[in-house]
């Protein structure tokens, strides 16, 4: 049973109050009209599926009903941090950093 800290309620609550909503930080295509089928497909369906650190969206479904982000290890299930929408994670893995650098280049 997860004990999850809601960054809006600022309290730890039990897992059953929450729902997992999948990968976080997926950028919506900036210019949707110019997207190829491949870009749309990737945006809609292709997901990171790491064995290790994962940034994901959860919703406090029967609490404040707000969406927020969680960094969690998918192998140990340890929750490293929770943070509000729009914020960036503090705990990141090596592959995250590499991808950010690649994107910057």
């Amino acid at each position: 049973m997860f004990y999850i800290h809601c960054p809006y309620c600022c309290e730890y609550r039990e897992e059953e109050e929450f729902h997992a909503k999948g990968q976080a930080h997926i950028a919506r295509p900036a210019d949707p009209d110019q997207c190829s089928d491949e870009e749309w497909g990737t945006y809609l369906y292709f997901r990171k599926n790491p064995r290790g650190l994962h940034h994901e969206i959860w919703v406090h479904a029967i609490g404040c009903r707000k969406f927020f982000n969680v960094t969690r290890d998918t192998q140990t299930y340890e929750i490293k941090e929770t943070y509000k929408m729009g914020e960036q994670p503090k705990v990141t893995s090596v592959s995250d950093t590499l991808e950010t650098e690649e994107a910057a280049q």
Binding site: F46, R51, E56
Partner: protein, 417 residues
């Protein structure tokens, strides 16, 4: 390969069963194979078997990081059926169903395949409309399928509470008589034994840590225990770890890995002679020959590789079972476990070429791969042998997520994804 028979059993009894041949060899890997299959579960072993049997390709290695059939093959609830809605999926699963029938004889291994029928219950008007639609679609595809009303369900399963005053009354069901259960471990062992007899190398305790590629084409794999093993074609059948293998090869898949759990009760006397599934209250149950009730749950909503499920899911599942079978409320649960399933957005598998040449993936079976084991192996073997997708596998390319030709089987998949 030593033939198994009743007579053989008697003969070996005379020597106190001490002279049985080993079921398969434990070979040292060669430097190079025609085909390397990563993953020694049911699907991978079936693929190796059909490669050798149907295509005469016996220079094949199955590389397994743990032991054969130790992943989802050992963890599922053993249900076999083919009543899927869309033509593409129905043909694939029915192909598997036809292979199941007679597979014990073919492999000379008792798979304990029991066609005891499967009921998919409906609890609302919309459930019943969906059931009628699916039953009709099944019949058009030549799959045995019947729509039952409450009375019909009650006659098949007298112990189920079908009274109208339940919170979720049973309004009817779809019924596939040819469906049933099979002994899950025996499926892996049977395929492994038959493949080994034809010369396939089964390499256990050997973990793939990298996929080697040159000019966009796969050349082999690097393993932790045995170094580099080269292969002309590589088939990846690793279920929950598909995303990890895809990352090694340098691409992403539209699959996410989730824990799916099941549990069994203490053994009790025979009480349930069919398989009962319900999408709506979400639980499925059958009774094994040993007598324990085998109960399946839904997946946990979050991604995970932990091979264990969450407690809230157990509670919800058992609520559903007790709703249907109040008499089971005092049966004690013996064991509970989880497996990692790779779920696709459309609840259908991926049997496909990939951005890396000579590297093929068979994954995304999600919560319902066991029933397809022989069919999956059969079409994937043809795909690997020819280097292009088998006719039945064509609709299941990973590129369907680019052109939008998804095969939405969430209704028939039976488990919420």
């Amino acid at each position: 390969m030593q033939k198994y028979s009743g007579f053989g059993l008697l003969k070996h009894a005379l020597t106190y069963h001490e002279n049985w041949q080993r079921v398969w060899r434990s070979p040292k890997p060669k430097k190079k194979y025609d085909v390397i299959i990563i993953g020694g579960g049911g699907h991978g072993l079936a693929t190796a078997y059909y490669l050798a049997k149907e295509h005469g390709i016996t220079n094949v290695a199955v590389i397994e990081k743990g032991y054969l059939g130790g992943g989802n093959t050992a963890r599922n609830t053993t249900i076999v059926r083919s009543n899927y809605l869309w033509d593409e999926a129905a043909l694939l699963y029915e192909h598997a169903m036809k292979l199941w029938e007679g597979l014990s004889q073919e492999l000379n291994y008792n798979l304990m395949f029991s066609q005891r029928g499967v009921l998919n219950l409906g609890h609302t008007l919309q459930d019943m409309r969906d059931i009628h639609r699916r039953v009709n679609a099944n019949r058009l595809n030549g799959i045995d399928s019947f729509a039952l009303d409450t009375q019909g369900v009650q006659e098949l399963v007298p112990i189920m509470d079908c009274s109208a005053n339940r919170r979720y009354p049973v309004l009817g069901a779809s019924w596939q008589p040819r469906a049933g259960v099979a002994r899950h471990d025996a499926v892996a062992w049977g395929f492994a034994r038959a493949a080994d007899a034809m010369g396939v190398d089964l390499i256990q305790q050997c973990e793939v840590i990298d996929v080697l590629a040159e000019d966009g084409a796969a050349r082999g794999v690097e393993t932790r225990q045995h170094g580099v093993i080269l292969g002309d074609r590589i088939g990846c059948v690793v279920a929950g770890n598909s995303g990890v293998l895809a990352k090694m090869a340098g691409f992403e898949l539209p699959v996410e890995s989730h824990p799916l759990q099941a549990l069994v009760s203490e053994p009790i006397r025979p009480i349930l002679d069919t398989v009962v599934m319900s999408n709506h209250v979400h639980g499925y149950i059958s009774q094994s020959d040993k007598g324990d009730l085998v109960i399946g749950a839904g997946i946990d909503g979050y991604n995970g590789y932990g091979q264990r499920g969450s407690y809230p899911t157990i509670e919800h599942t058992l609520q559903a079972i007790v709703e249907l079978f109040p008499m089971f409320s005092r049966v004690r649960m013996n064991r509970q476990w989880g497996g990692i399933v790779d779920t696709c957005p459309d609840a259908c598998p991926i049997i496909s070429e990939t951005p890396v040449e000579n590297l093929f993936f068979n994954c995304g079976w999600g919560t319902g791969g066991f029933k397809a084991t022989p069919g999956s192996g059969h079409v994937f073997a043809a795909t690997l042998a020819r280097g292009e997708a088998h006719e039945l596998a064509k609709p299941f390319s990973m590129y369907r997520f680019y052109d939008g030709s998804l095969v939405d089987e969430h209704g028939a998949a039976g488990v919420a994804h």
